[in-house]
Subunit: 108 residues, 2 copies
DNA sequence: TATATTACTGCATCACTGTGCAATAACGCA
DNA sequence: TGCGTTATTGCACAGTGATGCAGTAATATA
């Protein structure tokens, strides 16, 4: 297995593996949004969001365009949503399994 | 968007987002392997591999069983391979696009 | 029981990531 | 040009992650 390829895959997944960045992705799910719209929908400082947007764009997940003083972002790689869907399904099935195991425990 | 859910998704993706752990997953693709087989196929210290295996198991991605002094690991959630397939496809299409852009550059 | 094999844990270290404040850059408009 | 708005970057700090060595645990076998 080519180490360079593993590195690229890990970098891409790292870009996804952060709660605030995931929140941004879900927020952009329905189409492009201006940074000025994204910011108030998040808890963190605008500078923090800006950096997360940069990271997502550098990973090739988002794209951006400037319009006047505003910058609009959108999801360039819609297949990341497929990935998130699979992750959700795995988490749900895992939690179901845990529930099943908990049910088998003695009630003492 | 529920912050707890974002956290779980990010944790799961973080477990994947590391080159050595990806290498382990590819190594386990064809079925279970003993830690004693995994170790020599990796460059790092056995203790490092052990920790990565723990992390993958805690994320619910791997499962393990002890057989004598040996411990066997296998991929419990085969759908992670779907995720890696999508990542690869995205990386390939991104590199193609870069090539296309490079071709448009002036040759000077 | 003593010894060897296999796997894991404790600890120290180094690097990287995420964060917030302050400063700066990019733009539109008076 | 000067001012206000929007977005990004510089910097310092705290927290987390990956690593290797040394030591320990779990098991098999002599």
């Amino acid at each position: 297995m080519d180490p360079k390829k593993l590195e690229l895959e890990a970098d891409f997944l790292s870009a996804l593996a952060q709660p605030t960045r995931l929140k941004i992705l879900y927020y952009l799910k329905d189409g492009e949004k201006c940074a000025c719209e994204i910011n108030p929908s998040m808890k963190e400082d605008a500078s923090v969001i800006s950096r997360h947007l940069v990271k997502l764009r550098e990973a090739g997940i988002l794209e951006s365009r400037r319009e006047g003083a505003s910058v609009y972002y959108w999801i360039k790689e819609l297949r990341v949503l497929e990935i998130l869907k699979i992750v959700d399904e795995l988490l749900i099935s895992a939690s179901r399994e845990n529930a099943r195991i908990v049910e088998m425990l003695p009630l003492a």
